[in-house]
Every structure is written in structure tokens, then in C-alpha cells.
């Protein structure tokens, strides 16, 4: 499944908005197959902060873990947010 984050907006800041985005998308997330890969594409996002991301991304990452790929993460705010929410694993940093 491909999740295009820009479809939730291009300025993604508040917790209520992140929570609403997750709740609205939950029925779609339930369609993900047991071994299906989940691509999350940040192309087109102008600003993303950890409050929004914590409500939307954290539960997805928790549920689908290693099946998730994060694409087009070069936007500085996207990069900084992901670095905070997903600290490098001991394996990756060694």
C-alpha cells in the first residue's frame, strides 16, 4: 500500500489534525494484507512536526513496523521529525 502523506495536507502540525487524519484513514489501513508492504511517501509535504506525526505515523509504525518504508523524506521538517520519532536503532548506529 502506498500512503501519500500530502493527501492529508501540506502543513501538518497539530495533534488534533494528526489524530483526525489517523481516524479517517483507519478503514483504509485495515485493508492492508498480512504481509503487504507499506510505503509512506512524504513527497509534496511542506511542513511536518512531531505532534502531527506522533498521532498519525507512530501508530502505523507500531503496527506495521519493519514492513514500512519511508519515501521522499528530504524536506528538512520531515527529516527532523522522523529523526526524533524514530531514533536510529543500535544496529543501524553501530
Amino acid at each position: 500500500m502506498l500512503i501519500q502523506v500530502k493527501k492529508f495536507g501540506t502543513t501538518l502540525s497539530s495533534r488534533p489534525m494528526g489524530k483526525e487524519a489517523y481516524a479517517a484513514f483507519l478503514p483504509v489501513l485495515r485493508e492492508i494484507g498480512k504481509e503487504e508492504k507499506v510505503d509512506i511517501d512524504f513527497d509534496g509535504v511542506i511542513v511536518m512536526g512531531p505532534s502531527w506525526a506522533d498521532e498519525f505515523l507512530t501508530p502505523i509504525l507500531r503496527q506495521y513496523g519493519d514492513r514500512v518504508s519511508l519515501l521522499n523524506t528530504k524536506n528538512p521538517s520531515v527529516k527532523a521529525t522522523l529523526e526524533l520519532l524514530i531514533p536510529p536503532s543500535p544496529q543501524a548506529s553501530s
Binding site: 502540525s13 497539530s14 511542513v47 512536526g49 505532534s51 524536506n75 521538517s77 520531515v78 527532523a80
Partner: protein, 241 residues
């Protein structure tokens, strides 16, 4: 320099507000224009604008120092998070047009978003008196100010870390530990995000709550937290970029 006469569109650009806002301020007397008698066009003395907008931080600080609060000027007041989000996008649009920024605008907007969101997330239903936040900026002088008359950082964090006794300890915790004042939720990344962005970029950040004052800037390796008096009722923050 202060005697230079500016048109309304030049004045709007300098202050980072719309022409309609300036017209409204003129009508209310918040910021009076000079009218050319024949044309009726509004003009502004550059010195008046500098004086008006230079004191944004002082305005915000005064607001949180008062024992009893009152609503700030409507153009500087976001009563609800929805209003704040709209104005944040407006700030984003203005910043994206600036060509002389030393820091990517997306980082500035994300940082300011976190500070403002924190005010709403932690104080909804518990505001000291006035709900919402003070939010203003001066793009010419390159600074952004936010403030809230909420519970302040000590009361908020003491709920999840009862061992905290001073505002300085609470501030240290807020900017360094992942600990949320909204337990049992596990979040609490917002001010760590702010700290990381400031120390990694050409930014200066000031944050006051209670009797503690934090100054943080690019390259800092530890937090500079000092005592301040009088007491701030809630929080006030300023980002210089």
C-alpha cells in the same frame, strides 16, 4: 531612516500583515496612518512601524506578567487551535517568500507549530483565565513570539513527575526528557524537537515560565536556565531567525 514615508503595501510587507489588517488597525487607532489630504492614501512613517513592532516580545511578556489577563489585540490572538493553525500557514506562506533566510522555513514553521500546539495540548480546559495564545511576528526583524496564560511548565510536568519542585527543573526536564504532561500518553517530544532544531541551526530561542528563563542558540551543548522575577503566569517564547 525612521522618517522615510512608506505606502500601505510597503508597510504591510514590512510588518508581515495584510493591507486590510493595516486599514483595520488604522480605523481602531491601533496603528494610525498619515493621510495625504488630496489623495486620501495612507502612508506610514518607517520609524512608527519599527517602534510598533519592535515591542512584540514586550507586549507578550506584559500579557503573561499581569495578575489578571485580558484578551490581546485580535490580530495577535488565537483563541483556538484552529485559528492558530490558519495563522501558522499564513506565516509559512510569508516565510516561503523570503529569500534571505539562513534556516529552511519549514523548520521555523514546524518549531513554532510545536510551541503553539504545546500551549493548546496542555492547557485546554485549564487556562488560567484567557483561553488561547498570543501569536505575533516581525519578518523584518526576524522574530516570532508566542505566549499563553496557562498552567505553566511546572504544574503541567509535576503531574507526571511529582519530584519536580522548581520551574528550572521542570524546564530542564521539558527540553531534555521524553516525558509528557498528558500521561498515560507516552508522548512529549515537542520541546526536544525545538531544542534540536535550535542548536543545529542559526537560531536563537528564549522561553520563560514561572521564575525560569531559558536561552538557547546554535551550537549550545547544555541548557542555560536562569531565574527571573517577576513570575510569568503561563509561558512566553521568542524565536529569532
Amino acid at each position: 531612516m525612521g522618517e522615510k514615508l512608506l505606502t500601505i503595501s510597503e508597510a504591510a510587507k514590512m510588518l508581515g500583515v495584510s493591507i486590510d489588517t493595516l486599514r483595520r488597525w488604522d480605523k481602531k487607532g491601533t496603528l494610525a496612518s498619515l493621510r495625504g489630504s488630496a489623495s486620501g492614501y495612507r502612508y506610514y512613517l518607517e520609524g512608527d512601524l519599527l517602534f510598533f513592532w519592535n515591542d512584540l516580545f514586550k507586549m507578550a511578556e506584559d500579557w503573561v506578567l499581569k495578575e489578571t489577563g485580558s484578551e490581546p489585540h485580535s490580530d495577535l490572538y488565537c483563541q483556538t487551535n484552529d485559528v492558530f493553525q490558519n495563522r501558522l500557514i499564513k506565516l509559512q506562506n510569508s516565510l516561503s517568500c523570503l529569500t534571505n533566510l539562513a534556516v529552511p522555513f519549514s523548520l521555523i514553521v514546524a518549531l513554532i507549530g510545536e510551541v503553539g500546539n504545546n500551549s493548546f495540548d496542555h492547557n485546554l480546559g485549564s487556562w488560567r483565565d484567557i483561553p488561547g495564545i498570543f501569536f505575533g511576528y516581525n519578518l523584518e526583524k526576524k522574530y516570532i513570539v508566542l505566549a499563553d496564560r496557562g498552567q505553566g511548565i511546572l504544574t503541567t510536568l509535576k503531574r507526571v513527575k511529582p519530584s519536580l519542585t522548581t520551574y528550572a527543573e521542570a524546564m530542564q526536564t521539558a527540553f531534555t526528557e521524553v516525558l509528557s504532561g498528558r500521561a498515560p500518553e507516552t508522548r512529549g517530544n515537542g520541546l526536544k524537537f525545538v531544542k534540536n532544531i535550535v542548536i543545529e541551526n542559526q537560531l536563537k530561542f528564549f522561553f520563560e515560565s514561572g521564575d525560569a528563563k531559558l536561552s538557547l542558540e546554535h551550537g549550545d551543548t547544555s541548557l542555560d536556565i536562569a531565574e527571573k522575577i517577576p513570575l510569568v503566569h503561563g509561558c512566553v517564547a521568542m524565536l529569532q531567525f
